[in-house]
Amino acid sequence: MSLQNPLGRVLGLGAAKEGVHHWWVQRLTSIALIPLTVWFVVSLLAMPAYDYTTLVSWIAHGWTPILLVMFIAVSAWHSKLGVQVVVEDYVHGGVKTLSLILSTFAHTLVAAAAIFAVLKVAFGITT
């Protein structure tokens, strides 16, 4: 038996039951980001030079594009979840909804553009 009253049910009030999923994915992405971010930072610092040729051959080589794509996707996802919590805590009303929509769109756009760029370089498509 549900303790929710019929009007509340019709209006869709109460928890959306998505909190646990948000919490879990934030933890999952945290764990994945420990090795991914350490790999990325160490790779950047160990890079012999930051000129075009060196970087292009680094991105195209071996596991780099695969790790880079995962790094970008997981970072963007984790960041989207984190920004969402901050917005929900400090922004209220209609501005909150608008901010959440903009944050989601911006994260998706940055991730898509960055992943596409990595693939272009990895496949040797230079324009």
Binding site: L33, Y52, H92, A114, A117
Partner: protein
Amino acid sequence: MPDRPLSPHLSVYKFKYTLLSSILNRITGLALTAGLLVLGYWLVALSQGAEAYAKAEVMLSHPFFKLIFAGMAFAFAYHLLAGIRHLIWDTGRGLERRQSQQSAWAVGVISVLLTAALLYWACTRAGVL
């Protein structure tokens, strides 16, 4: 929105460094979100060929950006360690007051040392040191 009662807010709590460690995790997280934009810009410039990248390289090697990268190194170090602290909390460990105060200190001190190590590495390889 109707005026609803608010739960106790920031201003009613006495300031403690554990509070600082919590807010710093948020601030460094947001800084890393900004870093994601720089990463995107850098990769897209790279994918547009040598000429486009040369322009980005000039901009990103400006002293202002070097300062940004130094800040990013701290944000990375702090958020990484504070994140590990959170993951340990999630297993139910380290939640006692004294333990959380000690881990707040540990995260602060180790993240500063880690940042120093990262910056030292960056400076030696750039020929500054």
